[in-house]
């Protein structure tokens, strides 16, 4: 069972106040939590399918029944799925405020779940309401299909650039270390309408937009700072001064990106994740030293370039 995919379920999903607070800065955090949960269900469904196929015949099944492995695994999965389905269904019922790229991702997973719904329902038949919950996904899928089709028309290029300008202006006002402000701005752009538009636009257009975005951030920061190296020690200490919830949010968001794009070329995202999860500076430094793909010397300019590419393309 690939429980590790659920390890990022670290935000208190029941704590509406906390989510609301974080949402002021991290605009799509709520959707991300749901995505995480739905993704968890997706992973469980996939895992169930594979396990079911492998163990439906022969000695393995007998073995599992005899030693209770089957029951253990099932219980473990159930807890995650039920929790996830509960949160997802609440959100899906209320969801009408905007459309984002995260919704797109939820929809993609829902597509898979819809296809494998029979297996899920069969496996979870002991939980009466599971079947209803999964049916909700089906409704969401139907509604979303039409909404995403309209996005490219809705968001013209000029409007896309205006969104970039608006978001980049926030740099310097988010009360975060500079690197995290860049990360947050990029995340808000990538997760929202701009992200959907970027996904559907042509390669040529993508390149132009990416260039515009990078230059906009660089000029906002100024030539002087752009050539600096990231001071890991200072950055780590600034992150430690942030509220615990915010530290968790940063770790959560970066981890979610990594779930969908594991390309080791992009080390900036791992740097952010380590900033949010390391217990102390020694642990952080040790992690940087032991991971060969993470640069020891990171110029700010390269951070902007790489993070923009990575987050927009994920």
């Amino acid at each position: 069972m690939c429980v590790s995919n659920l390890e990022f379920n670290i935000l208190p999903v029941d704590d509406n106040d906390a989510i609301h607070q974080l949402q002021q800065k991290y605009l799509y955090i709520e959707e991300k939590v749901v995505l995480d949960l739905v993704n968890g269900i997706g992973t469980v469904a996939k895992d169930l399918n594979e396990n079911a196929k492998k163990r439906e015949k022969g000695f393995s099944r007998l073995w599992d029944d005899f030693f209770g492995d089957s029951k253990k695994r099932q219980n473990q999965i159930n807890e995650n799925v039920i929790e996830g389905l509960k949160a997802a269904s609440i959100w899906l019922q209320d969801h009408d405020r905007h459309i984002s790229r995260i919704d797109m991702r939820i929809k993609d997973i829902a597509d898979i779940l819809y296809e494998t719904r029979n297996e899920i329902v069969q496996f979870y038949r002991e939980f009466e309401n599971v079947s209803d919950r999964v049916a909700l996904l089906e409704n969401f899928k139907k509604n979303a299909d039409g909404r995403f089709a309209l996005i490219e028309e809705k968001l013209a290029r000029i409007e896309a650039q205006q969104q970039i300008d608006r978001e980049v202006e926030n740099i310097g006002f988010l009360n975060l270390p500079l690197e995290l402000e860049i990360f947050t701005v990029l995340d808000n752009l990538a997760s929202g309408e701009f992200g959907i538009w970027y996904t559907f636009t042509s390669d040529k257009q993508k390149q132009e937009e990416l260039k515009y975005l990078k230059n906009k951030i660089k000029s906002k920061i100024g030539k002087q700072k752009i050539n600096d190296w990231i001071d890991f020690y200072e950055l780590y200490n600034l992150v430690r001064k942030l509220d615990k919830k915010e530290q968790k949010a940063i770790a959560f968001i970066s981890a979610q990106y990594r779930q969908f794009n594991r390309d080791p070329y992009y080390d900036g995202i791992d740097l952010i994740k380590l900033l949010g999860t390391s217990k102390n500076y020694d642990e952080f430094e040790e992690a940087i030293s032991s991971k060969s793909h993470i640069r020891t010397y990171f110029p700010l300019e390269e951070f902007i370039e790489d993070m923009a590419e990575y987050m927009m393309d994920t």
């Binding site: 080791p264 030293s289 060969s292 793909h293 640069r295 020891t296 010397y297």
Partner: protein
Amino acid sequence: MHEKNFQKTNIEIQKIIDEMLSFLYKTSEANIDDKQLLEDIKVLENEQSKLDKYEFTFAVVGTMNAGKSTLINAIVGQEILPHRPEAMTTLPTLVTHRKGFTEPVLSIPKRDVYNHLIAEIQKTSQNKDNDFDFDVIQEQYRGKEKIFQVLKEINDIMRKAKEVGIEPPYEQFISINDFPRIEVEFFYLKEKKELQNTNFSLLDTPGPNEYKHAEQLREISARQTRQASAVMLVVDYTQISGESSVEIKEQVESALEYIGNDKTYILLNKFDEYDEYPMQNDEKGYEKAKEYFSKNFLDNRFDIKHVFPISARDAFYANIGLQELALHGQIDKKLSWVKNFGKNIIGRRWEGKLEDKEEVEARCKEALEDSYIESPIKYIIDQSYNSAQSGSLESAIQALTKVCNNISNLLATQENAYAKSIKELKDNIIKLKDDIDKFEKISQKIVIKTEENLDESKRELDALAVNQIAKFEKELKQFFVQKIQSIEEKEVESEKEQDGFSRFSFFWTKKRTPKENLEKLIEKGKIEFEDKNEAERFIAYIIELINVTLSEIQNEVENNLHLKVDQLVTNLNDEIEKELGPIAQDIEQRLGKEVKINLPEIRLLDSSYVLNDKDLKFSRHKKRRTIHKKQDSWWGAFKRMIDFADLNWGYDEYEEEYTMYSVTEKKILSNSKKAMQHVKKQIAEDVEHRFEKNIIEPVNNQVESFVAEVERLRDSQARILSQKEHSKEDMSAYIDRLKKDKQLVQKQSKRIENVKLIIQKRDKVCVSAI
């Protein structure tokens, strides 16, 4: 660079190597035929191992009886090397720190060489009714006594070989790993955690004055000493005044010349025993010794920071005392070194104090502190550590840059090849072959042109030498005539003064006139000096004359040659650019826009002649002459008065042998000509060497590597062609993978550039701080 920064840079380089290696392992699986990839893997693995472990070898060189062995024993903390008062004929010995080796172990990697030599000695000596009995040398020996015995035996084998007329096979000892090596735990390094990733060795090597007739051995030691991370030159400070001072100064100078200044550290041993400053082992005496030595023995030309007064003896006894206490909790009175230990470390009535462990330990620590041994060792290790680290980093950066460049070209070529049609690829491959042929032809043309220039330079040199030698011959002749004239004039004058009485002789014996005498001497071309100093002065003048002539030849050749080579290099580079440039551009276009082909570029290397003055010696020969000593008596005086026929009446006659120093014009001329011919030959060889090194070799090497690179890229295209011909799959997946790979390699290139920037930036900060 600061230690922490070094570590950080080191970590980053290791991380880049890791990334590149895992990429190369993966890529080489997909490109099994590509030998360059395997070569790149080897290069990076080698760099990785160099960064993992640092190898330090500190050569210890000493002036005669300066306490070199005592110093080594002091650092090791036990008597590991025998005291060796006589000149050394054996090879240098390595003493290596191995944690946990309390009992020393001697390894002899070249034992077969010694055993073969023993057999040969025995064979030869049997014929001469002379029997030498040596034990067969084993691979390893344990324990101090055995080691002493074997080291002595090796020394004897070498000495005996010479005695029976066998040249010891010194040529078998090239690498440092060929020498005997003693492995033992160094007491000094036992607790030094920061040196865990280092291999630390002391090389006990004979100094420049410690050889008898083993020139080859001197060369071996010199090579190893020069390659060492640092050299500790041990000087006996008690010998710096009085009769030995001149000798010591000469020895220090020759040692510095032999090993170079930059990584040499001078240890002034026994500074506390120097009579003129009693109680010197305090801060004041320490500084005084440093300054005095630096000023009087090094003429302030050597960095005073590299001079360290020490007391190796105190350090040695303090260390073995501490080690004994650590091992056995007390010092046994029966130990062989106890007497010296007691006298030196504990002082008066030491026997009674020996049982007080705390007192003995305190005294040892005090003596260790007063021996000042810590500061040089720490300083030398720090300096060497930094230089070893920066050396390894530099070499790793160079290797990484080269490998990244190779791979980038390969990937760009492959990416381009996937995008091309089969027909285009086929055409490309044929054209690349043509380009390589063209390239080789042009490079041959360049070599021929260079050789023509070389011949011309040699002819010019011959003409120049003929002119200069003729000029020299004329000047020498003139000088000889002048000298003979002045000597003759002086002699005539003195004859006049001495021989006043004979002018009144009744029977004047016909003597040669001064003019005739002069002509005769000039014709003979020989001057004889009774005074050795005068002969030396004369020879010195001649040598100066030869040197002036030689330096004129050298300057002229130097100027002409520089101009010639400069011009030739410019012409050749232009030609390369003109002829090879378009081909390289074509190749680049054919292989892909991101492929960068570097044209061969000829760069001038520095090289200068080493001219040795031919040693012009006057000949020395014994002559006999008759001496007439006046008889003291009145009878003698009377006889002298009536000796009108110069018959030496009134003189006692006896014969005396005396030395004459003669300088012959002919001999000087012939020797000088020989010297000049020799120098001319040297210059000619040097000119040839310069052409070879500066032009022919770089052109050949670069063309060779260029051709290899293009061939490799061509092969890679051929592989893709065959893949395209035989597979029906969609190639877009391959292209996507290549794009990703390219991106990854580019990222590593960027990281390397960042490391270079960091190093540059820090170096600048360091320089400005200075």
